[in-house]
Amino acid sequence: MSGIWVALEERNGKIGRISWEAVAAGLKLGAQLGLPVSAVLPGAQTEALAAEAATKGVAKVVRMEHALLGAYTADAFTIAFQQFIAAEKPDYLIFPHSYQVRDYAPALAARLGQVLIGDVTAIGDGPVFLRQLMQGRLSGEYRHAGGGTCFVSVQSGAFRADQTQAGAAATVETFSPTIDAAQIRTKPGEPFRGSAQTVDLGSAQFIVSVGRGIKEAENLPVVQELAAALGAELAASRPICDNGWLPIERQVGSSGQTVAPKLYLAVGISGAIQHLVGMKGSQCVVAINKDADAPIFEVADYGIVGDLFEVVPALTEAIKAAKQ
């Protein structure tokens, strides 16, 4: 067994923050267990990115390189990682919990008789891996019970990427998996944007965001008036955009935009993790919800438990008064 390995993900020619967060999780686990931490980077042209990864405090970086790993397919990635695991026998293989990882890591684990412990938010003694249940209302502690490699993916934002201390450059090696084009059963197209982006929520200072609690599209003026009083952009959680009540470009969360305004006011949003990852970097979070147990209150600085149809109009008036 060869300690802890972190699988890095290349996106648009870069290794994103979520991969460095996975490295931070790996280093934390490594310190806890006294195991070496290395990184593996799949791709078709990984030389420059591997050199960058080598400065992130890991013992070794392996470029898992093959022309067929350039454009992601579940088949090529699963085959390549299977060979890598057979060669290196990691104790732990840690992934960022990206959409790409969600597409192949469960199949990879299953192929080896393992189960991915996915979307992990913290690592405790044991080690136990914490992940959310019931849309964030509860937290579960998971343990790897069998032998073999333990597969873990970590939630975006759960570990601090800036805690990977820059060290001396680690050694970089190359691993060449054997992949035949005939083994790849799916044909991926180029990524494209859904619609022209005309709203940049990312640079908004004030955001009023609305969720299922609004009940019907006809009720939206209640929050629109609050947004107007604050000079805020209106945003929404996924169900509102799924229903077509607001355009998808106003969606905040893992499948929408990531925002970090001065004030984020969540109205009738329960706070499922897919939403929270898009807004938890906000400076000040306010939640208005009828359910006192809603997970949104866990990330809120201020909260009002009550009927939004009573609270929001009152707040609109109070804000107008306070701004005079």
């Binding site: 299953a110 979307d119 209302r137 502690e141 044909k187 470009e249 009152a314």
Partner: protein, 256 residues
Amino acid sequence: MKIVLAIKQVPERDAQVHIAADAKGIDERELQWALNESDAYALEEALQLKEKHGGEVVVVSAGPERVGSTIREALAKGADRGIHIEADDLGQRDALGVAQLLAAAIKSESPDLTLTGLQSDDLGYGQTGVILAELLGLPHASLILHVEKTEQGLTVKRELEEGWFQTIELPLPAALTIQSGGNKLRYATLMGIKKAKTKEVRRVTAQELGATSERVVTLERISIPQKQRSTQILSGSPKEAAAALAEKLKFEARVL
């Protein structure tokens, strides 16, 4: 096209959930149950494909007696028949263990297309469909919003992060996990509900399927999550709470 759809019964969205005495599950007494949200979208996709191309839609679900009502709900919306995998020990199985049960039931059906929702609203593993593809030896794609049948197989629209999408072509047979929001959901009609009562639901036990429940990953303990920020809850009448909040935002958080 023959479509098999794996669906899950989960606690209703607004249900108050309580942790069970052994802290390894939730207290199921007095809970209301519903069809998992992304599974409802997978069902809608299956029904639309059937309406366009003909064929059959079979729903399969694992769980205790209560799961029967969710299977009937899918039949009322238009699925042709159901398979109920009777299992009281799902809590003792990990994601692979549950997928093995479903795979064993699906295999004998030899469908052209195997569908699941993207993830469950209770445990939220988001893995069952992808593991099923692996166990059944099928090509797959996940987070799918739209499915089109072509001469060669399928063309699907996959959701990527931050507002990006991708088109993927797959041969049949294949497996897909369906993301919420791709279609508008239908309601069961009165006629549909009536018809559902006569549709076949085959019951099969986990034992008959020969899937063991040995776990590689265990859920040790469930707890209430720790707060990430200390929240000040402002109480009083709506007017009082709103005034107090405006005051806090102006003078304490200084964001107004």
